[in-house]
Symmetry: C2
Subunit: 185 residues, 2 copies
Amino acid sequence: MIEPAKTPYHHGDLPTALLFSARSMLEQDGVAALKLRAITRHAGVSATAAAPHFGNLTGLLSALAAIGFTELAEVMAPEHAVQPRDVALAYVRFAIANPGLFTLMFRSDAIDRQDPGLRAASGRAFACLAGLAQATPGADRAAMMVGLWGKVHGVATLAIDGMLSGLIPADSPQTIDAFLEQVFR
Amino acid sequence: MIEPAKTPYHHGDLPTALLFSARSMLEQDGVAALKLRAITRHAGVSATAAAPHFGNLTGLLSALAAIGFTELAEVMAPEHAVQPRDVALAYVRFAIANPGLFTLMFRSDAIDRQDPGLRAASGRAFACLAGLAQATPGADRAAMMVGLWGKVHGVATLAIDGMLSGLIPADSPQTIDAFLEQVFR
DNA sequence: CGCCTTATCTTTACGATGTAAAATTTCTCT
DNA sequence: AGAGAAATTTTACATCGTAAAGATAAGGCG
């Protein structure tokens, strides 16, 4: 989780404060709420205060997406997810727990996929999935990997977009988890 | 495919012309290019000419998304896709052939999912997938359906976003098709 | 045929957005 | 202390979506 640090510098740790504001607004009101002026307003600074740190809005959102990929890699790491099914469940659970952030991470017109920090973070997350496909024996590893990642990513995306209402139990996290375990049996 | 009709009315069949402009701009420059002023400019009318027909930008884009779902339902229809694998391949092929349109169809902040025309069209498309899960015998039909749709949707989404470069052969449509058949073996 | 209602389209106007440029403030370092 | 660099604000501009009001042309009806 992000937290605004003390005030070691000029006006505080503005980069972290901006990311913190952006994330809270993101989870509250969705990706549509991620306007530069709204974020800076929420952080209590002027509209152009983010430029020296992130360049432009895309840079700021790319940094936020990188945080998302770092956290996703964390919950999929081998120490937390031992079995293949654990990795799949961690992926979907992360998406359901952080719908706005997950949406941002895969929205290519709001972020810059070439951003070095973003590339590094997303690479770390995808390595967990790649290792998973490597572990399972099969004919074509690439096809296996695409199928596995596709299933995980598709279920996560559809769940976030509310496409599975009626198909997925909406009761409690426990029943959702039980249902997901059946999907990824 | 959309095509601007003759000029039976005032200035022509503007609704169709606007949808035609929007679609060509969409496939040319992506979802980010779908600005109301740009679309109307492309169609040669004033910026507010779309309002009487579509209300606002969301209405126009929802109508375009509805066209997308109609075409998706078409390629997944039983007369074109007999085996379950055919339905899956049609879904992914449609996404790869119409990346911008497919992205729009699932971008919830640009369209209105409650739009009646959109609901009808998307319902028709999803019915093809539901019937597919109904055909296959299995323990929990809902879990089967979610897993199947998720895999199909995830592979399509990841392919569109360029996430599968390196995993998927980029040579020719034939090799891509062969690869996909292996994914959905 | 002539008028009148209605739908279609344009003009105008307003608030909001992203960001470039210049000015201002604040920190760091010698 | 004073210079230089970094951070932040002020100002300005092009663009966006759309509401309101005016202009234009079509169809219905006498």
